[in-house]
């Protein structure tokens, strides 16, 4: 009889976790000596508003969330990713990740292939980019090819992407020169409050799972404060396991530049934490974590990145709902579930991502919908409950509308403690959602602080 028990965490994507963080100050100084120029990291702006900060990509690469990617992609890798969602090494990867600079900055830096560039963040040394290649891109072309078009990807793309789409704007706003090569963090940033206790890069997440004795873990992707439907989804999905439900339920929030109107990241992580602090999910099987990434809202494309991040963290199962990581009506609302059930050939997947060469081990759980049904007297699963006209469907936009009108969401929608966390950050920021002021200020303070580190003399000039 085959053993049906799952005895270990899935192996990292690409075989091993990338960790490119130098913690020895002497080694960091030696590496800085080799650098020929310094560059201050700037946010990517769209119409003057920050939509991306490459520092988040550097963090997620160097701490292994995006393993096996080790740096800013070469031209060949970018082409390979856009053509077939694979790195040149053959491993599945969905998005081009590049270190882009303006022509003016490139000329000022005077660097080329073979040079090392010191990257500074918030005025302090942060990381080194070992430049292997310099090439030009056409940002608009990268944007279109990243997300697909109705002609090229008719299975799931419904309408052409435009400037109402945040992810599309990120790629359109890239600078035209790319410096490709490996990143190494040489001055480890300190994560700011309240994010510190939720910082579990893949290596630490795996250590924590092992410490807790978990071998089956299911993840909930979030960019939202949890309503009771999310909570039901997490609890019910966690019945997936081996001979018993999953040992752990992990929430992994995506933290980064966001859309106006979303909840502040601080409220998102703390409201999820409140589910275990207030006893709705036992903290022994619930963990809140986050990944630094400026969401591209790429629905099926984004789901691949989510799969990679979470598999690298050691997670066995991934919940995918309708409209996963989506914005607007560009994709079929079930695009992610189509990818993870039969594949999307035009995006390079003749089969689901777990059945292709170079694919993922994480197993999807494609979920329909939970709604509140007063007749069932529960948060009912849509494939079970047939009480049409009685049940109420959840909608994040609807709930935000309630809050906007000054109405307290009832406990059928938000646990009272969860709503109080929203109020806590509302009081602090003067607004319950991301507005222009919040987004600008948070892009200045970021999620990290950097310890002071002296620059070598030759870089002070």
């Amino acid at each position: 009889m085959p053993d049906v028990r799952i005895k270990s965490l899935p192996s990292p994507h690409g075989g091993k976790i990338v960790e490119r963080v130098v913690r020895d100050p002497q080694m960091a100084r030696k590496m800085m000596e080799k650098c020929s120029a310094v560059y201050d990291i700037k946010p990517t702006l769209f119409k003057g508003n920050p939509v991306r900060n490459v520092y988040r990509e550097i963090m997620s690469i160097c701490y292994g969330f995006f393993s096996p990617v080790e740096g800013s992609m070469t031209k060949a890798d970018v082409e390979s990713v856009l053509e077939r969602r694979r790195l040149t090494s053959g491993w599945v990867f969905p998005y081009p990740l590049v270190f882009d600079v303006t022509e003016e900055d490139f000329k000022k830096l005077g660097v080329g292939a073979g040079d090392w560039l010191l990257l500074r963040l918030k005025g302090e040394p942060f990381a080194i980019l070992e430049i292997d290649e310099v090439y030009e891109i056409v940002p608009g072309d990268i944007a279109v090819r990243t997300f697909g078009t109705p002609d090229r990807n008719p299975e799931v793309v419904k309408v052409p992407f435009d400037h109402k789409h945040t992810g599309y704007n990120i790629y359109c706003s890239l600078n035209p020169i790319v410096l490709a090569g490996k990143y190494t963090i040489i001055n480890e940033p300190k994560i700011r409050e309240p994010f510190t206790r939720f910082w579990y890069p893949p290596k630490k997440a795996r250590e924590e799972f092992e410490r807790r004795g978990w071998t089956t873990v299911i993840v909930h992707q979030t960019r939202n404060v949890p309503h009771t439907g999310h909570e039901a989804l997490m609890k019910m999905s966690a019945y997936m396991g081996d001979i018993k439900p999953s040992d752990g339920i992990v929430v992994n929030a995506i933290i980064g530049a966001k859309r106006i109107g979303d909840f502040p990241d601080e409220a998102i992580v703390e409201s999820h934490e409140m589910l275990h602090l207030a006893g709705y999910i036992n903290p022994n099987r619930h963990m809140v974590t986050f990944t630094l990434w400026d969401m591209r809202y790429g629905n099926p494309i984004e789901s691949l990145l989510h799969g990679i991040i979470r598999q690298n963290m050691g997670i066995s199962f991934h919940m995918f709902g309708r409209d996963h990581a989506a914005l607007g009506e560009y994709y079929d609302i079930y695009a992610t579930q189509i990818l993870w059930s039969k594949g999307i050939p035009s995006f390079g997947f003749d089969a689901p991502p777990y059945e292709v060469s170079g694919g993922l081990h994480i197993r999807p759980q494609n979920i329909a919908e939970f709604w509140y049904c007063p007749k069932c007297k529960e948060f009912a699963y849509s494939d079970n409950c047939t009480h049409k006209g009685i049940y109420s469907r959840y909608s994040g936009s609807f709930i935000r509308g309630l809050i906007n009108e000054g109405l307290t969401p009832p406990p059928e929608i938000y646990r009272p403690e969860v709503y109080k966390v929203v109020v806590k950050w509302w009081q602090k920021f003067g607004y319950p959602f991301n507005n222009e002021k919040y987004l600008k200020e948070r892009e200045e303070r970021l999620e990290v602080d950097l310890p002071h580190m002296e620059l070598p003399a030759h870089l002070k000039k």
Partner: protein, 133 residues
Amino acid sequence: MAKYFGIIVDEKRLAAIKGTALEEKVEPIFGGALKRLVLEVSDELGQKVIDSFSKARFDARGYIEETPAAFKKLVFKKIIETKSLGQEAMEMALKEIDTIKDEVAKEDMELPAPDIDISDVLEMQKNPVQKPV
């Protein structure tokens, strides 16, 4: 395909429609925890509403969501004036959109936080289960 515009009916709004035909159209949602009126509008009119506000969008249920609170107030006023949940209430509200411009702009900048006691959650947060690693 029709689009929908929901207006939450609190006690004040319920009082305003008491005894009218509109009162009968109030529907309970979330097991009666909330009450609402629903306007059905054409796709085209729905799109006009979306185009009028930067954050507004259709949600997965086909509802027009994330419009300013000031706009919802205006639509409710027009529902009372027209005594109907038809297109005309929405059309009239859109015609008068300029009258709420300042209110909408203010709403984007600040919203007063509710005055509720959150000391219990602050207390719980003093002893988080997850500690910084």
